[in-house]
Amino acid sequence: MYQYDAYDKAIVEQRAAQFRDQVARRLSGEISEDEFKPLRLQNGLYMQLHAYMLRVSIPYGLLASKQLRKLAEIAEKYDRGYGHFSTRQNIQYNWPRLHDVPTILDELASVEMHAIQSSGNCIRNTTSDHFAGVSRDELEDPRVYCELIRQWSTFHPEFAFLPRKFKIAVTGAPTADRAAVRVHDIGVRIIPDPEQSGATACQILVGGGLGRTPRIAEVCREALPREHLLSYLEAILRVYNRHGRRDNKYKARIKILVGALGIEEFRRQVDEEWEKIRDGVMRLTDEEFERVAVFFSSPDYERFTGKDGGPRTLADDDLRLAAWRLGPDRALGRWVASNVTPHRVPGYAIVTVSLKPKGKPPGDATSEQMELIADLADEFGFGRIVVTHDQNLVLPDVVLERLPEVHAKLSGLDLAEANVGKVTDIIACPGLDYCNLANARSIPVATRITEHMEDLDYLHDLGEISLNISGCINACGHHHVGNIGILGIDKQGEEFYQLMLGGSSSDDASLGKILGPAFPSSEIIDAVDTVLRTYIDERESADERFLDYVRRAGFGPFKARLYSNTDKAAR
């Protein structure tokens, strides 16, 4: 893991001290809320419906066990005993008191964490693949690139006041995008270099995003040598900073600029800017790359013995996992099937800890649960935890033979829901239960769906389905890219929900389309149920995924069942 150097440490400590002074001045009445607001937002402190909300950055989602323990301690001491993991791979505290926030920032600084650039019109936390460094389908570890981007973008003086917020995501798995790079302002894909066999390059995508005007990113540069990554990003940001629509907040994201100029013209302007800086100080030397890469070298993996007495192989692991999946212990079998992913190193497995138990708000974890996960990371792995953009936690290095023990311990704290990648693994934004901007509630829709899906065999038979819910058009719940998307709207003071189908945030990225008239809150769960039953009844076979079925069959079969009754059609 990256460890702070003297600069990082000084920056974070000084910022916490500066904020302590600003808070004291706000509490004494020396500065007004209008004066304080931009200062607090620069430190990730929002005002929500019931309280302040503090968003803490977790760079590319990676946490050391001591950091997760600190997050648990903060939840316990300064909040109400829990935290909310967000789709930006960050954590949010929903109930801090203002005068405690500087102390929270000091506590965070003591474990190399902060809340800088987690809000405001700047470059936000760079997100990445939650299986970075351990998945079999990875070409190169994206965290090295993310860390370089973090260092380049932190307090970048030119980009502190961009037209709008700016989000970058990086994936190192060219055929398995788990970081949703195509719906980011900039997406970086590490790909095989077409010019040089065995080498890698960066494909740069630009102009993706969700919100009011969802858009899939387009390729700005097909294959950029890594030495130019930072200068090229800087060129993109300069073009955006110069021409982004500062006059209209709804048109200020880079996706609008790319759409207005067209990708060719946008690329031309970026190239023109890039020519001026490409060979300057931002050129990434091999030494600089290595300086950062050493922090992400593999831990000291043990070499295990296989069945035949030779070294254990990946095939041995696959057989073992298959045996558990089909074994008599159904709870363990289902959990292994959905929450365990094969690791690239023989003898290890990747465990996704579901933060989506039945009836609970997606992404919330109590301090007790965070402590347990930190303990498991130490006991069964190498003390690392990763936050996923779909609001779960990953233990990336669990000794495979110890999976049953891990499962048992997680079960004890309601953390072993076997639903990762299933329809109850819901992404939901805080919605009207917490958020000032919401039109409707998201969390109760999610909890009602998870409670409705009682039959676990049915849940697993449905296979891989993503369901995403947002409480307003800002789309923090990524509803456009859920295979099933739900958007809360306000119709004359009543909560209604639009249903969308066909979205995906992966390599086959697509935006979901609205199925028909919105449903009142009392009907949305039945509507989702009807969608799922239509799929089960009509799919070609269990091998046809929900998304593939929607793409093949279109909306006809769903509409026929959902809107057959004239009352509903007239709604």
């Binding site: 004494s28 005002m47 003071g493």
Partner: protein, 108 residues
């Protein structure tokens, strides 16, 4: 006839607070002063704005009277704001040093 109340967020912890007739703030919507004319509403808002040390961004909300005459916010957002999240929290410890004791204590 529209009825209003002045609300804002407490500078201390961001909790919703409501302006009372005596010019103090309460954390319970039932304690807030119900205003039935524009002029009085604007006067009270100006008063609230002058007390910015205690309150953040005061603004008027529409309220209704219940069967017993007690005020409650008209909009769902303001009702949730007054009552707390509608889903149980995964953990519900009171905040240290806070006068709030949980959403249930703040009944509308």
């Amino acid at each position: 006839m529209s009825l209003w109340m002045i609300t804002g967020s407490s500078t201390d912890d961001g909790a919703p607070i409501y302006l009372q007739a005596d010019g103090c703030w309460s954390r319970r919507v039932v304690d807030g002063e119900v205003l039935d004319d524009h002029e009085r509403r604007d006067e009270r808002l100006a008063l609230a704005r002058s007390g910015e040390r205690q309150v953040c961004d005061p603004y008027p909300i529409e309220v209704l009277r219940g069967a017993g005459g007690e005020p409650r916010p008209r909009s769902l957002k303001q009702r949730i704001r007054a009552q707390g999240p509608t889903v149980p929290l995964v953990a519900d410890r009171p905040r240290p040093g806070s006068r709030l004791e949980g959403p249930a204590a703040r009944s509308a």
